[in-house]
Symmetry: C2
Subunit: 162 residues, 2 copies
């Protein structure tokens, strides 16, 4: 059980995009530069976020990425599912229906207790992520960022905006 690298990048990118003034955008190349990650690969994650309507893309020159809606309406779960896919971590393969104790399918109308337990855990995980928004992330960032990092970030943003 491991989350892909792209999830972290996507979360950071959305946090940065939340700080972009309305009417402006950031290109994929700039976002990659800011996080020092491979531009071509980050572009893939950004495309996934765009397909999921988490961020919006303006094509053409002067184009770039921006959040698709206000930061307080984008949950961390939205971002994780956009990049990682919305499949559950645990997939029941119904092994109980195999082997010497197997019966006809109608005997297995209820999901097995194991699948239910794993489903509850997945739900708890998703609920927690759904309850945290990009706005929360930015708030936490603003409260705890080192002044020097904030100044450097602001200076970079100035030259990167479009």
């Amino acid at each position: 059980m491991k989350l892909s690298q792209g999830v972290e990048w996507a979360l950071h990118c959305c946090s940065v995009l939340a700080l972009v003034p309305p009417g402006h955008t950031l290109t994929a190349a700039r976002l990659a530069e800011f996080h020092e990650v491979p531009p071509a690969y980050l572009a893939k994650q950004l495309q996934a976020l765009a397909r999921a309507d988490v961020i919006a893309a303006d094509p053409g020159p002067k184009g770039g990425y921006r959040l698709a809606r206000p930061a307080d309406r984008i949950s961390v779960l939205d971002i994780v599912l956009a990049v990682e896919g919305d499949e559950h971590a645990f997939h029941c393969e119904e092994v109980r229906q195999r082997g010497p104790a197997a019966c006809a399918p109608p005997a297995y109308r209820r999901p097995c207790g194991i699948a239910l337990a794993m489903g509850r855990a997945e739900r708890a995980w998703r609920d927690e992520l759904r309850g945290t928004s990009v706005a929360h992330l930015v708030m936490d960032l603003a409260l705890h960022i080192h002044p020097e990092a904030a100044q450097k970030g602001a200076a970079w943003m100035e030259g990167a905006l479009r």
Copy 2:
């Protein structure tokens, strides 16, 4: 984010082992037969469970596997971590410390908000799994199993016990 196949097998195996009378065991081959899974690969999962002290192995002829402690003291989390490893799904690579806004390491003593949010979700997931024991799984099984499956299972167990 995907859990390995072995997790489902391990959970089912532990449920079956919980039904083994005290003083008896089941061999890896029997457990594989019951679930119709590859014996050699299931053996790997059982070894992982044994290393984590979830189940105990009696070597030699007449040997086999049994639960290492009462079913109500084995959590689903114990089993999942034994098979999957105890690493967190999200691993923060501290991308904030890279790029044009980077500062000296002392500026990053606090974990970033993104890592904290993902950590809370992981904690919620684990808490849910920790709160469910093998005894709960067996209870659910006993309450909802089809009579025919129960009878077949009992008959198989009779010939499989050692």
